[in-house]
């Protein structure tokens, strides 16, 4: 019964994502009717003759990769948020903690300011995000143990350190570089191309598949180290594996799309409300919800006004009241005491 209900909700969400995707393809400063969008898609699938050249350019080369990147990013952020929350037994954690975003931001700004030393912005952002995570992980490790709270604290410390480094980068950069860094940090999908979609999708999907396959272990890990151990898990090893996978997925998206707040916090909570706390459902469900949410936010960001609103602003404006509601309405119930 319960399983059927969950499957129904999951199917509904997938349908919503698909239809939202197709509708968003037509929306924008240059409106394209649904029939024309469908014509482009069908011609690309080889089911119809060539479509209008202009429509094809807008739908297939500009909007399609952008929407796909938004979906993949939402998926990665939300699912990795769910994984971090389970790992640290802390429902208020998201990819920011551990300094993923700050590390990636520093990597990307290094690539902007010193293009000769760091030729590829995405790669260096990814490397520094990973460096930040490893740093916070090993800073928190004392005498063979990694207390979750210490790990979170060291993540905050590493995050603020790396943010300071970004500040230095901004200070030494020229005007155009400063503009580029600032835009990247606000988050958005304006530069999205097919290349980004391939890179992120090829990283994110295997990571999410692995995380979903391991979700039962995450359930056990979330009982706490001692109980996890008594149920046959090596808590440190397991947590490390989850952190690496989640960070890989999140950082590759941060490096492609900039800093996007709140998705990783909001969507796992929404998924738990719909599907219950079992991570075998929560991880994929937050993925779908995250994709849906970022798709919506991105579409709002590019259609609300004539010019583009940076995506980070939209997600934060929607996300902040949500967190406030979560804290006030569900505080004690969701977070224990």
């Amino acid at each position: 019964m319960l399983r059927k209900l969950r499957s129904c909700i999951a199917l509904l969400l997938c349908a919503a994502l698909l239809s939202g995707f197709v509708l968003s393809l037509g929306a924008g400063s240059y409106d394209i009717r649904f029939a024309d969008t469908a014509a482009v898609l069908l011609s690309k699938l080889g089911l119809a003759g060539p479509a209008d050249r202009m429509h094809e350019l807008i739908v297939w080369d500009i909007r399609m990769p952008r929407l796909l990147l938004a979906c993949v990013t939402g998926m990665a952020m939300a699912a990795s948020g769910a994984v971090y929350q389970g790992c640290f037994r802390n429902p208020l954690v998201e990819p920011y903690i551990l300094g993923v975003s700050a590390g990636a931001a520093w990597g990307a700004s290094l690539a902007v300011v010193f293009p000769l030393l760091f030729p590829n912005g995405q790669v260096s952002a990814f490397l520094f995000a990973l460096l930040a995570v490893l740093l916070s992980f090993f800073l928190a490790r004392t005498s063979g143990e990694t207390p979750p709270v210490t790990l979170v604290l060291s993540g905050i410390i590493v995050g603020s350190l790396f943010s300071a480094f970004v500040g230095i980068m901004k200070y030494v950069s020229s005007d155009t570089e400063l503009r580029e860094i600032t835009f990247w940090m606000m988050g958005g999908f304006y530069y999205a191309g097919w290349q980004d979609v391939f890179v992120t999708a090829c990283t994110v999907f295997p990571c999410l598949a692995l995380l979903t396959a391991l979700a039962w272990k995450l359930n056990i890990l979330s009982l706490g180290d001692e109980e996890a151990r008594s149920l046959g898990l090596q808590p440190d090893l397991c947590r490390a594996a989850f952190i690496v996978l989640a960070t890989l997925a999140a950082s590759v998206c941060v490096s492609a799309a900039g800093i996007i707040a709140w998705v990783g916090l909001m969507m796992p909570h929404a998924a738990r409300m719909l599907f219950g706390p079992d991570n075998r459902w929560v991880i994929p469900a937050s993925g779908i919800l995250g994709a849906l949410y970022l798709l919506l936010c991105d579409t709002l960001a590019r259609t609300l006004t004539g010019a583009e609103i940076p995506l980070g602003i939209v997600t934060s404006i929607v996300g902040a009241p949500y967190l406030l509601w979560l804290l006030r309405a569900k505080g004690r119930e969701s977070y224990g005491s």
């Binding site: 802390n90 391991l214 039962w216 359930n219 008594s230 149920l231 046959g232």
Partner: protein, 293 residues
């Protein structure tokens, strides 16, 4: 079997005594064919920094035996349990489970041999009681932790055995302390290990649930499972345990068949002079001395 342990309202007090007599007659549990010791603690010493907690503890539990661990608060019972589960590493001595030193065992191997019921359980996520019991099946699952239909059935049976089937879909963090304790015991039962460690399993249970938990423990012990249970009620140790070990100030001060160990002198030694042990035939009971003896 559970039904005949329950005491219904209106029954006379003699029922308790007849129950105890019956029970005393049925113990000790039949010795299983499996030889050796399920749990063997030798010369175990542990200290948190300078603060010594356990001092040269030796204790063993045979298959099919319920060993009750009695001792005042803070005497190191929980620390002993945590050493046995490999959460803490003792400075001296060792713990062997079925002849294997647990220091050389991976958690997965240990979990296949030992189930552990912690004293209390806190959980930020609202897992249902059913999921929680199902997690006891994890050590038996294949590498990727896939649930089989068998696992669901065993979890269901464990819940039925403890009598919490009606709580199956309730979130654990909304249950009462006693109900949570029952869920944890059901989880340990679902784990189906030859050794079970329980840290004060009946501390927040009502009378009938206490009896049904002890009944389940006797039942699993009769199937050859070794049980080490720490308990604050000397009566429970007298009534339900084959063997008693008494801890006092970090040491084992007495060990042996429970009726012989839990004497008035010993109780007065560890708890003070207010303890009386009364005997009526084959069943005994520990009472406070009210006023004058």
């Amino acid at each position: 079997m559970e039904a005949d342990l329950m005491l219904h309202e209106g029954e006379e007090k003699s029922t308790l005594w007849s129950f105890l007599h019956r029970h005393a007659a049925s113990s000790p549990a039949p010795a299983p064919a499996m030889p050796g010791r399920a749990l063997d603690i030798r010369g175990l010493s542990f200290s948190y920094g300078q603060h010594g907690v356990l001092d040269d503890i030796s204790l063993s539990v045979k298959p099919g035996e319920i060993c009750g661990l009695l001792g005042p608060n803070g005497c190191g019972k929980s620390t002993l349990f945590r050493c046995c589960m490999g959460f803490l590493h003792p400075q001296k001595g060792h713990v062997r489970v079925h002849g294997v030193n647990i220091a050389h065992m991976k958690p997965s191997a240990l979990a296949a041999h030992v189930a552990y019921v912690p004293q209390e359980h806190r959980q930020p996520f609202p897992f249902s009681a059913r999921d929680m019991v199902l997690m006891g099946r994890s050590p038996k699952m294949a590498g990727w932790f896939r649930l089989r239909r068998d696992d669901e059935r065993i979890a269901e049976e464990a819940m039925a055995r403890i009598g919490i089937l009606h709580l199956a879909e309730r979130p654990c963090n909304q249950l009462s302390g006693g109900q949570r304790q029952l869920v944890l015991i059901a989880r340990a039962m679902a784990q189906q290990t030859p050794l079970v460690l329980l840290d004060e399993p009946t501390s927040s249970l009502d009378f009938s649930n206490q009896l049904s938990v002890w009944n389940v423990l006797r039942e699993v012990a009769s199937q050859g499972v070794a049980v080490l249970v720490c308990c604050h009620d000397p009566n429970h140790i007298l009534w339900f345990c084959d063997k008693a070990a008494v801890m006092h100030q970090g040491r084992i001060c007495a060990e042996g068949p429970s009726a012989e160990v839990v004497t008035q002198e010993l109780l007065q030694h560890i708890y003070g002079p207010q303890c009386l042990r009364l005997g009526t035939g084959r069943a005994s009971m520990v009472c406070p001395s009210l006023g004058r003896d």
